[in-house]
Structure formats: C-alpha cells, structure tokens
Amino acid sequence: MADKGLISESNKVTMILMGGEEAGAVAEVVGESQPGVTITNHGAYIEIEADRDLHVDLPKVSERLGRPYGVETFLVILSSYVGRINVDDRTVSLSTEIG
C-alpha cells in the first residue's frame, strides 16, 4: 500500500452533502457536468467523489431546483469535504492541490 513510509498519496476529492432535495439536485448537476464522478447515497448524506477536482455550479443547481440557490444556502448542506476548497460568487470547488 505505501510507496515510501506508511502513507500513500491520494488525489481523491469528496463532498459530503446532507441528504435531501437540494443534495439530490446538486448530485444530478455535478454528475452531468463531470461524468467521471462517483455518487453514493447513504441516506443521511450523499457523497460525491472525484479525481483531483470537483465543481458545483450554483446557477445550474438553482435552475434544477426552480428557485434561487446561492452560496450561503449551498453551504448549509455541505457537511464536509476532502480536498482544498474555494468559494466564490457562483461556484464552490474542491481541488487536490496544496499551496
């Protein structure tokens, strides 16, 4: 498992979204725009995994939901993530890069 030492480097990024209508819409939008992602519904939460980076386009989620949906509402359901996060007006992104 380890290349050197005990730790193997991983480039996976993950979003954990509180289960519900909004998480479902986000998962659908991300699944369509990034076909390589893995989406798992655990009931209490939905997990979206990708290699290296992940982007949530909030205007598209808003369109899917049929109502306004901005950054601060999305952050209500973003329970956790793996990776480095960047938040701006219209997208929330994860990246595996450091620095």
């Binding site: 730790i7 601060e72 509402t73 209500v76 793996v82 701006d88 620095g99």
Partner: protein
C-alpha cells in the same frame, strides 16, 4: 452593480488598522513561538452578514427537526445507542466549549485579518455546537425511557474517569501555544478525526433510530468545513516562513499521537460497541477518513515543504487496529464508575468482530465471557475487582495502561525528577518530557480516590438515581434487579493506586524503572 465576493473581501480587509492606543504586547496578550506573516488567505472569505444568514438557515432546519421529533416520536431508538449517547454528548459539549476558548485565544494572538476573521467566526460556531449538543442532550433527557445519566451529563463530563481522556486533551488544547492549538484543532483533529464521528456515525445514528443525533452531527460538521479551511489557511501562511517548518513538524509529531489517543480512540468505540445494526467497523472508518483521506489526501502533500511523516505514525497505525476493542473492555470493565446502562455484545456481534478484526476472540473473548457471568448483583461479583482492579492511567492522555492491547501493552511506570509517573506509551512519555510542567498538575482518578471504597467513589461522583442508592450505571439494560450502592459495598472493592503499590515496592527495595510486566 453588486460587487463580487473577492472584490468585497479585498475592500473590507483594507479597513483593518494597527491601533496606536495600545501596545501590541498588551493587545495580543499571549506570545507564540511561531513566526506569523502579515498576509494570509481565507478560502471561505466569510462575511458576517452572509454568515449569519447561513447559520440562521441551518438553525431553522435543524430545530424544526428537533421539534418534529419531539411531537412524532415514531422512531424506535436502539437502547444501546441511546445509553451510549449519555457518554458521547456529555463529552462532546465540553469539547466544543473548549474549542470556543481555543479560537478566542487564537483570534487574539494571530495578526492577519483574513485568519482572524475565520477564527472569530469559529468562536461563534463552537458556541453553536455546544448548544446543539446540549439541546440534543436535553431532547433525549425528555424523551428517552431512562433519563438518568442525561440529567447529570455536564457534571459527569467534568468528573468521570473516562471523560478524563477528553478533559486532558482539551486542557492541553486550551493551554498550549495559541498557534499550535490552531494547527492541533483545525489542521488535525477537525480535518482528520471529526469526520469519523460526525459523518461516519451519522448513518449509524439513523440506523439506531436517533434522527436528532443524525441532524446534529451533520449540521455541526457543516461548520467544520470552514474550520478545516481555517486550519489549512493558517498552515499555508506559516509555511511561507521556513523558520516555522521545524515548529510545524514538532506540532504534528505531538498532535498526531495526542489527537489519536485523546479523540479518535474514545470515538472509535461507538462504531463497534454501541451500534447493534452494524455499519462500517471503527477500523474501516479510521482507515478511510484518517489514513487515506487525511494522511494520503492532505498530509503526504506537505512533503514538498519539508514536513515528514509524524514520528509516531507506525505506533498510531498499530494502535488503530485494536484501540476500539481495548477501549471497550476498559469502559465495560469499569462500568460502575460510568453514568449509563451498558448492553454487552452478543454472539452475532462477536462473529462480526472476529470477521472485522481477525484474532479478536483470542485477545478479548475471555473478557466478554467473564462480563456475562458477573452482571447479577446477588452473585456479589464485580468484574472491575475480579479482573484485578483498574489499571494505572497515563499522566498525559489518561488512557489506562492496557493499550494498544492488554497482552502487548506499551504502558510504563517511571521515575522523573523524584516523581513516580505512568505513561501509556513512548509517545506520551515523549510529549511529557518536552514540557513536563504542562502535564504535571492533572489530578487522575487515583489522586482523588486512592483508598476509597468504590461505593463511596460512586456517591462522591453523584452517579446514583433519585432514590439515592440505585446506581445510574448498570451492567445490563435490564438486569434481574438494579445494582445499588449496598451491592457495591458488599463486593468490598478498595481503589488501590498502582503507583502507590509501585512506590511501596521501591521503598522495599524491589522494582526498577521500565515497562510494566504482564
């Protein structure tokens, strides 16, 4: 035209100034050994107005669920889980409160506006978390069939022997260097370990019929998202100055171990021993969230800055395989000094444990056989006493000296500067040696109760029900009859400090320093 987040952020930061009416050392109060640059980055760019709106929305959704859960009461909560939450929620609310204080210190000690804003918002978040957990606790106290234990949860967080593990951790957090505490909490505990409990166990909470806890965990963790970013931003800021590299390494060497024994170990027990409807094992959760996601997805990438694998990582990896099982025999073996009813594992679960942890039966099977034989108060046998009494506790982390596994314990009793001290491991001893004064004052179970009859310990702790004599803790959910103080007294168990015994042997010219022999 509305300004973008990035433009507004830059503008607002420029409002900051260096006050002339106070000396910096009076303003910052505490010093840090780290070199903190003047500029930093906050990936969340948190504005108070948007923050309040977001948090209000979280509260509206969560408390609506709490209210509905009180009215509907349709879930069938699993008794073992509900009893376990007495221990979990009592400690969690105390931890969150300590995090509030940590972030206040860090906000005061760290100059760059970007980081300070994140920390000050985290002060509010941690107060929110304290309140979320207290409200979950209160909800359970009002609705669970046996509220005893929930009603004294905050007292118990301060005086229970098991809670000492978490108390010593948070006291270390609250009193160490104010920048170290930020790396320890945010860049370590919150990024690596909080996911195991707040995400990993959220599905277990649902499976155990406790939607209140599911929602509490997931909404708490949504704030952790920003805390992880606080930690990352602070770390990146510090890495800009090469003088910080050895200090960061030292911090990670200490807190990788400290976070594992003080936070991960007590939380891991829930997945294996408090969830009847089994989900992932504790080890599987740790492997995923800690080794792969945290160490592999984040820590490994710090190599380019000169940060090496933590010094005790091999010991952590080994410890992780056994710690939930060893923690379970500690908790169940010491059941009279806890404050909830216990529900021991059954045959089906033993099969599952053996599958998830090959060799489990060899190392732990006998304990569980004995446990099942000593639950009847009329038989007069107390497992705590029959298995030789409580062991010594580590001066640093307060784990009993039976880890990672009783047959291969790394515990040691040693003399340092005229004091006889016990440590669970080389790692804790190393932590102690770096800063002895920091750990010398902690009063352990034996400092307080050596020589006491166990019955008097339980009375002093306040762990009896309304009748003043029936224990809150019971070895079974529905024992033949409940254990009372008189039953404990009949067992004639005197609390004996292993360190006192060791010192007596030394005076008699016996034992030398070294590892405990099994």
């Amino acid at each position: 035209m509305t300004r973008s987040i990035n433009e507004s952020y830059e503008r607002i930061k420029d409002i900051d100034w260096d006050p002339t009416y106070i000396d910096p050392k009076d303003k910052y109060v505490e010093t840090t050994r780290f070199h903190v640059p003047k500029k930093a980055v906050d990936p969340f760019k948190t504005f108070v107005r948007e923050y309040l709106k977001m948090e209000q929305e979280k509260e509206n959704r969560h408390y609506a669920l709490l209210e509905a859960a009180s009215r509907i009461q349709s879930s069938n909560p699993e008794p073992r889980w509900m009893e376990g939450m007495k221990f979990a929620l009592s400690n969690l609310s105390a931890i969150e409160y300590s995090a509030t204080r940590q972030m206040g210190r860090t906000a005061r000690a760290i100059a760059p506006t970007e980081l300070r804003q994140g920390f000050m918002v985290q002060v509010l978040d941690e107060m929110r978390h304290t309140q979320l957990e207290l409200n979950a606790l209160r909800h359970h106290m009002r609705t669970w069939e046996d509220p005893a234990g929930y009603d004294i949860a905050l007292l118990a967080a301060q005086n229970s022997v098991g809670s000492a593990i978490l108390r010593s951790l948070v006291e270390d957090f609250m009193t160490c260097d104010p920048v170290e505490t930020c790396l320890a909490l945010q860049a370590f505990v919150e990024t690596a370990y909080s996911n195991i409990f707040f995400v990993g166990l959220s599905t277990a909470a649902t499976a155990c019929g406790d939607p209140v806890m599911t929602s509490t965990m997931l909404t708490i963790q949504s704030d952790e998202s920003r805390h992880m970013a606080n930690g990352y931003a602070t770390l990146m800021t510090l890495l800009d100055d090469d003088r910080n590299i050895p200090l960061i390494q030292d911090t990670y060497d200490k807190w990788s171990w400290r976070g594992h024994v003080g936070f991960e170990t007590p939380l891991m027990i829930f997945a294996d021993y408090f969830v009847k409807n089994k989900q992932d094992s504790a080890y599987e959760m740790s492997e995923r969230w800690v080794m792969q996601e945290y160490y592999g997805g984040f820590y490994k990438k710090l190599e380019k800055y000169g940060i090496r694998e933590p010094r005790f990582l091999p010991a952590i990896a080994e410890h992780m395989k056994w710690c939930s099982h060893t923690a379970a025999i500690y908790l169940f073996g010491a059941w009279p000094v806890f404050f909830h009813r216990f529900d021991p594992i059954d045959e089906r679960e033993i099969e599952w444990l053996e599958k998830k942890c090959p060799g489990w039966s060899n190392f732990y099977g006998k304990f569980w056989e004995s446990y099942h034989q000593m639950t009847d108060p009329d038989a007069g046998m107390l497992i705590t006493k029959e298995l030789g009494g409580l062991p010594a506790f580590c001066q640093v982390c307060q784990l009993p000296l039976i880890f990672p596994r009783p047959d291969v314990s790394t515990g040691r009793i040693v003399e340092k500067n005229g004091k006889v001290l016990s440590f669970c491991s080389e790692a804790c001893e190393w932590i102690y040696d770096r800063d002895p004064l920091h750990y010398s004052g902690f009063k352990s179970f034996y400092d307080l109760y050596d020589g006491y009859d166990l019955a008097d310990v339980i009375l002093k702790l306040g762990y009896v029900r309304a009748d003043g004599k029936t224990l809150i803790a019971q070895p079974l959910l529905k024992p033949k009859r409940m254990w009372t103080i008189d039953d404990i007294r009949r067992c004639k168990y005197e609390v004996v400090s292993p360190l006192r015994v060791y010192k007596e042997k030394l005076r008699a010219g016996g034992t030398a320093n070294g590892q405990l022999k099994q």
